[in-house]
């Protein structure tokens, strides 16, 4: 036991004191922060308003003026504010306030395009419009030609649908500006049609609109808004945590074993400890590393929840389950990774053996959407009993609104532990044989033969 503890301590210290580990540990939260805080500012702050000319060809003669009005920069800005206000109607009041300022909208969505419209009322020559789009312009670029269909305002005889419009675009037209044009033309056409029918647009819109419902999760600590989103996210977050912890530890376990083997220090170690003690020590050392990673991330999450006053949403039992399933999953993958590390001489040789293991690790992510949508469907229940996938599936089910029965959880844990014991047995055999084997890297069949012979 003393030797195992010594090996574990060295493994732990050697791992956490490397620069790579510290950087790796911080990079995930740092990336998340950067994504949330910095990226939108960076992406929008630098984008100047699009400028250009647009031609309107309107054979009906009824809608061109309205389109020109709708494409006016002021009108575009106003419409964007209006849209955002509607979307945010149920959000935090502070956000609603924010949405009211067009500056904030520009900040969030980028500058509104500044389009100069050229009227060609009555013009129907499409070829002229094409030529105009292709022509080199000394001033602002020619962006688009809007061609309104002749039946856009008055239905043709025997038709129930109105005609529409086409947009001929130059290569210089970007997607965002194109959608602004579409939105403007659509608004203009609808306005003109309503006016022609003698309907009041504002009254009609009010009639059509149902405000978004408020979604309130009733929890012990008081009602929480936005809780439902959190509940939808939680299974993914927990699965990700499990994944992160296992990946970090498993990878390090493999590389450190390969290093010990290729630097030949392993023979010096084996003069002092048995292969089993060495393996147990390494597994324990990296387990400590994995737990630290896991608890650090959980800790960050809890702090975030506290700061948003949403801690009541997190069932403390979930963290307990997370640690339990982490232990099981870690033992399974850790054992496989350490066996691979002992079997090969360099990291490049490990790739072919890593394939199946990585597949096992990715499988839960293919299952996750299915399981979180229907946590008690047959697929989810069956996957709960197939180690090592079951740890991930179980975490998803536990965090879902309809948690599984207790016996499912216990059975999944028991099966997981069984798999862990099996993998450890296999790894111990491969470890013992592989550590002093140099030469052609083995394949899976060779590993199985080692396990049987050792």
């Amino acid at each position: 036991m003393r030797r195992i503890a010594l090996v574990a301590r060295r493994e732990f210290v050697a791992t956490i004191s490397t620069k790579g580990f510290i950087v790796g540990l911080l990079i995930m939260p740092a990336l998340a922060l950067a994504f949330v805080l910095v990226a939108p500012r960076l992406m929008n702050a630098r984008s100047p308003a699009v400028r250009g000319e647009v031609v309107v060809i309107d054979p009906t003669g009824a809608v061109a003026a309205e389109i020109v009005a709708a494409l006016d920069p002021a009108a575009i800005a106003e419409r964007r504010v209006e849209n955002l206000r509607r979307t945010m109607a149920n959000a935090d009041p502070a956000l609603g306030e924010l949405a009211a300022s067009s500056e904030a909208v520009a900040q969030a969505l980028g500058q509104a395009p500044v389009l100069r419209t050229i009227d060609r009322f009555g013009e129907t020559n499409l070829e002229a419009a094409r030529a105009w789009l292709l022509a080199e312009s000394p001033g602002e670029p020619h962006l688009a030609a809007i061609v309104v269909h002749p039946d856009a305002m008055v239905r043709r005889a025997g038709r129930s649908e109105f005609g529409a419009y086409d947009v001929y675009a130059s290569r210089a037209l970007d997607d965002a500006t194109e959608s602004v044009i579409h939105e403007s033309v659509r608004q203009a056409i609808v306005t003109v049609r309503l006016r022609a029918s003698g309907l009041d647009r504002a009254a009609l819109e009010a009639t059509m609109r149902v405000a978004r419902p408020r979604a309130v999760t009733v929890a012990a600590g008081g009602d929480q808004q936005a809780g439902r989103d959190f509940n939808r996210m939680l299974p993914f977050i927990l699965g990700l945590l499990l994944f992160a912890g296992v990946i970090v530890s498993g990878q390090t376990l493999m590389t450190s074993t390969i290093e010990e083997k290729s630097s030949r220090v392993v023979e010096v170690l084996l003069a002092a400890v048995s292969p089993f003690q060495l393996m147990a020590g390494k597994l324990l050392g990296q387990l400590a590393v994995g737990l630290i990673v896991l608890l650090l991330y959980v800790g960050v999450g809890v702090v975030a929840l506290v700061s948003f006053a949403m801690l009541g949403l997190l069932d403390p039992m979930l963290i307990l389950y997370l640690v339990g399933f982490f232990l099981i999953t870690y033992l399974v993958f850790g054992a496989l990774m350490i066996a691979i590390g002992a079997a090969v001489n360099q990291i490049a040789d490990a790739q072919s053996l890593m394939g199946p293991v990585m597949l096992l690790m990715v499988a839960p992510y293919l299952l996750a959407p299915m399981v979180s949508r229907a946590p008690n469907a047959p697929v989810a229940v069956i996957a709960s009993f197939v180690p090592p996938v079951n740890a991930f599936v179980m975490m998803t089910r536990l965090a879902s609104p309809t948690p599984p029965p207790a016996w499912h959880v216990l059975a999944a844990m028991a099966l997981g532990l069984g798999a862990a014991v099996g993998c450890l047995w296999f790894a111990a055999k491969v470890f013992k044989v592989g550590l002093l084997m140099h030469g052609t890297p083995p394949n899976v069949a060779t590993l199985i033969r080692w396990a049987r012979s050792a």
């Binding site: 003393r2 010594l6 090996v7 060295r10 490397t18 630097s263 220090v265 010096v268 084996l270 003069a271």
Partner: protein
């Protein structure tokens, strides 16, 4: 405590189709320095790894320091593997302390011993350097310190001098001699015969997984009683073949710069030497001594080194001496 340091009985180990060690019996008594010699691939390292319980035999049994496996006595064994290895990123003192702690030595004792031994081996003051920054020779000395830091009862050294400069070799030999005087049993594998001759009281020779020789050095020297005189005459034209007329001489074999004179069994070499020198004034004259190298080369040159060959070798050595072995 009276049990021999190492006992191997009918020890065998196969790797696939290759028999690396083939039924070796061996007893290494306590307190001796035993040379374990043989060409590369003879099975020395495999044998040592089985003694260390790093590999496990397919057949046969062994005991180490009176235990059934080295696993039960690892704290009392020091081992310097042939393949040197360290943790590249670790600092020298931290590495040595770690190895010592694994063998049950406290960190405080370990660092005192390590500092003293490093100093003694001429690499004092490297405690804080990372292992990856050391030269190969320095690393080898660091590893040697790791092998003896627990003051072992049994010290197993696999090719300890490979890649070292002569000064370092001398220092290492002194420390090994000290370990011997402290009472440690030393098993030391080498393919450099001069080293074994110089340091060992007992020699075990392995070839193709089998033991072909297991003798005390003293016994070897007695067996290979010098019965050959090498002479280089002072004058170029001296009649060397006339020496064959002396009653003590069996035959005369000319060499490049003189000749070798084989004496009859039971002849007093001192008297024979006087007779020879009286006939031919020498520039140089000497009694040939048994050289392990000759035995070794003879063995390696012999592709059919089976038990029969080994017996033939022994008979040859006892009857005729090491004549012509280097040829």
């Amino acid at each position: 405590m009276d049990a021999a340091a190492i006992v191997l009985s009918s020890l065998s180990k196969r790797f696939g189709a290759v028999t690396a060690v083939d039924g070796i019996d061996l007893v290494v008594p306590r307190g001796v320095t035993c040379g374990f010699i043989g060409p590369s691939g003879a099975g020395k390292t495999t044998c040592i790894r089985m003694i260390m319980a790093i590999l496990f035999p397919d057949a046969g049994s062994l005991s180490v320091l009176g235990r059934r496996s080295a696993l039960e006595a690892k704290d009392r064994i020091g081992y310097l593997p042939e393949e040197r290895g360290v943790y590249r990123k670790m600092r020298v003192m931290a590495f040595l302390t770690y190895i010592a702690q694994l063998k049950g030595v406290t960190a405080a004792v370990a660092s005192t011993r390590a500092a003293a031994l490093l100093e003694r081996l001429g690499v004092g003051g490297i405690d804080d350097q990372r292992c990856e920054d050391l030269s190969k020779g320095m690393l080898q000395r660091v590893q040697f310190v790791g092998a003896i830091i627990n003051e072992p009862d049994l010290l197993i050294l696999d090719e300890p001098f490979g890649g070292l400069d002569p000064v370092s070799v001398r220092r290492l030999k002194e420390v090994i001699a000290d370990e011997h005087h402290r009472g440690a049993t030393i098993l030391f594998s080498t393919h450099i015969m001069a080293q074994a001759e110089e340091m060992c009281q007992h020699v075990v020779m392995i070839h193709r997984g089998r033991k072909v020789l297991d003798e005390p050095m003293a016994g070897l020297r007695r067996q290979f009683d010098p019965r050959t005189i090498r002479i280089e005459p002072l004058e170029a034209g001296a009649d060397l073949l006339a020496l064959g007329a002396l009653p003590c001489v069996e035959r005369v074999v000319p060499t490049a710069d003189g000749c070798e004179i084989r004496l009859h069994a039971g002849t007093d070499p001192a008297a024979a030497m006087r007779d020879v020198v009286a006939r031919v004034p020498p520039a140089r004259v000497e009694l040939a001594r048994v050289r392990l190298e000759d035995v070794f080369l003879r063995l390696v040159a012999d592709d059919a080194a089976t038990d029969v060959a080994a017996r033939a070798l022994r008979a040859d050595l006892q009857g005729l001496g090491p004549e012509g072995a280097a040829a």
